[in-house]
């Protein structure tokens, strides 16, 4: 099976190594042991920018980069500048919002997403529903700058041409799949939760295998636990291959081709 992983955090402190290149080499080594061919690096570029840029060029056949952005702490124009610097003119192929980076459905962020789409950038949005509130309800615990899968769905409803990736399948995936189901241009990514049996089977049943992609979220999660969600699922070998690599390769193809990056044979 060919495996591409869209969700890696090589710069985190718990990854072995002193420098970004050292950490990245360690991650590549472990991924290689697991049969993973290509790694999506979600990296902030506000420090170690030169090292990150060099690494993305040096390991261009093993990794690709998504710019990790925080939208609420600056003006949209500045974020557009960053996208131009790293995606339009630089080595990266996408943008990523994490759990505290801005609710993707807020209208103020629209210009950023629109610009990313014009660049054919991958758009990866962390989305999590947490039980909580008073009375406690599924999805009832709201973090101020965190997107829920419903926010991804809302953004998708305004932009039917925009390819969006709903990170973590919304966390509470039984609800997350339902939240984005109506929007065929939303793909779910499966990282960041325990390898609960039935998760990927439900995704395939409700969305179709073409709308599911593999991500690990290392080092917070392991390659093994996350790969198991696909390799252990009761789905066909063809569906596994779509999820493990082919869907992501299809989504990434326009920007990879424009940048002259290899999609593999």
């Amino acid at each position: 099976m060919r495996i591409w992983d869209i969700h890696c955090h090589p710069a985190e402190s718990r990854v072995r190594g002193r420098t970004f290149p050292e950490k990245l080499e360690h991650v590549i080594e472990v991924a290689g042991r697991m049969g993973i061919e290509r790694l999506g690096l979600l990296v902030r570029a506000d420090k170690d920018a030169r090292e990150i840029e060099q690494a993305l060029v040096r390991y261009r056949d093993k990794v690709f980069g998504l710019l990790w952005m925080t939208l609420w702490n600056d003006r949209p124009e500045r974020h557009i500048d960053a996208l131009n610097r790293w995606v339009r003119d630089g080595p990266m192929v996408g943008m990523k919002l994490a759990g505290n980076d801005g609710v993707c459905s807020w209208p103020i962020y629209e210009p950023v997403f629109e610009h990313a789409a014009r660049l054919e950038s991958l758009i990866f949005i962390h989305a999590w529903l947490k039980v909580g509130g008073d009375p406690p309800l599924p999805g009832g615990l709201l973090e101020i700058h965190e997107s829920r899968p419903q926010d991804v769905a809302l953004l998708a409803s305004r932009h039917p041409e925009m390819q969006l990736i709903c990170g973590h399948s919304g966390g509470d995936w039984e609800l997350g799949f339902a939240a984005v189901r109506a929007h065929s241009h939303v793909t779910v990514e499966i990282s960041g939760s325990w390898p609960t049996r039935g998760m990927v089977e439900m995704a395939v049943r409700e969305l179709g295998a073409e709308r599911v992609i593999f991500g690990s979220d290392i080092p917070g999660r392991g390659f093994g636990s996350q790969l198991a969600k696909v390799l252990g699922a009761s789905i066909s070998e063809r569906e596994k291959q779509l999820i493990l690599a082919d869907n992501l390769r299809r989504l990434a193809a326009p920007i990879f081709r424009r940048k002259g990056l290899s999609l593999g044979a």
Binding site: P136, P138, A228
Partner: protein, 286 residues
């Protein structure tokens, strides 16, 4: 030879066109200390019928699995739960399933249930669910149960966590068990043997791990453990002989535990310990 066979199993999981587990050579032994029979209260899944579970375990080349029952979480009639558990293991397990009964020290006459587990059903141990039964490890009733189980020479498995708290059904919220009181208890009870199941997400977030691992009467599974190379970290922190293979099947894909072994790049001797020898020290072949 054994090392090669196991490497074949693990590599087989990643091989194109393969069915996980089918690459295992016949005759190898893999002991899974952490599986469940019956249905999870809020979701159906493949494996929640015992014949399916046995099939999953066989595909994963598990030769022996220690089984509790999901019914133990919510049912008040624990006696019936344990009777069904014993029957299911006997009827479908073909010697592969070893029942670990439930005892709730907050219910009346738990001492009789403990006795039945050992004397009627010949169970080698019990599995406790303190968070679902609403007691802490400081509770005097728990201490009495641990003492009574130790007197009988029973293994005590403590299931410290069952499900991500962020996505639990609101009516069934159960925070993870605080393991902090356990090291001191083990010092007080020199015959107690405790296996911690689903104890930690990561070694970094496990303050009780190192004090617990000082005891040679403790072992940990790694079904819940997650993070890149985290099994390697667990072995480093707790010692190889404290780590046993637990998959938490059918709730988790069995492949998860197997692939963690591959990710951690365990040597042949380490795999032997994790897959078999460490658990076998706790429970000699029945």
């Amino acid at each position: 030879m054994v090392e090669i066979q196991r490497r074949s199993l693990l590599q087989g999981l990643l091989a194109a066109g393969s069915r996980p587990g089918t690459h295992a050579a016949a005759g190898r032994e893999l002991i899974d200390v952490h599986v469940y029979v019956s249905r999870w209260p809020t979701r159906r899944m493949r494996g929640d019928e015992t014949p399916e579970l046995v099939e999953i375990l066989a595909q994963g080349a598990v030769s022996e699995a220690w089984a509790g029952s999901f019914e133990a979480l919510m049912f008040k009639d624990i006696a019936a739960v344990n009777a069904r558990l014993a029957e299911e293991c006997e009827r479908h397990g073909r010697g592969r399933l070893i029942p670990f009964g439930a005892v709730n020290p907050k219910l009346p006459a738990w001492e009789e249930e403990l006795r039945r587990c050992q004397e009627r059903y010949r169970m080698p141990g019990i599995r406790l669910h303190p968070n679902y039964h609403h007691y802490t490890l400081r509770d005097p009733d728990f201490v009495r149960l641990l003492e009574a189980a130790a007197e009988r020479g029973l293994i005590v498995q403590i299931a410290a966590w069952m499900e991500d708290e962020r996505r639990q059904i609101p009516l069934m919220r159960a925070p993870a068990v605080d393991l902090a009181p356990l090291p001191a208890l083990l010092e007080r009870l020199p015959r107690a043997r405790v296996m911690v199941l689903n104890g930690f997400l990561s070694v970094q977030r496990a303050p009780a791990l190192v004090p617990l691992a000082r005891s040679d009467r403790v072992a940990f599974d790694f079904a819940m453990l997650d993070g890149m190379m985290e099994l390697r970290n667990l072995i480093g922190a707790a010692g190889l002989d404290r780590v046993v293979f637990g998959s938490y099947s059918p709730m988790f894909y069995l492949e998860s535990a197997l692939l963690k072994v591959q990710e951690a790049a365990l040597s042949g001797a380490e795999q032997e310990g994790v897959f078999r020898a460490d658990a076998r020290r706790w429970l000699p072949r029945i």
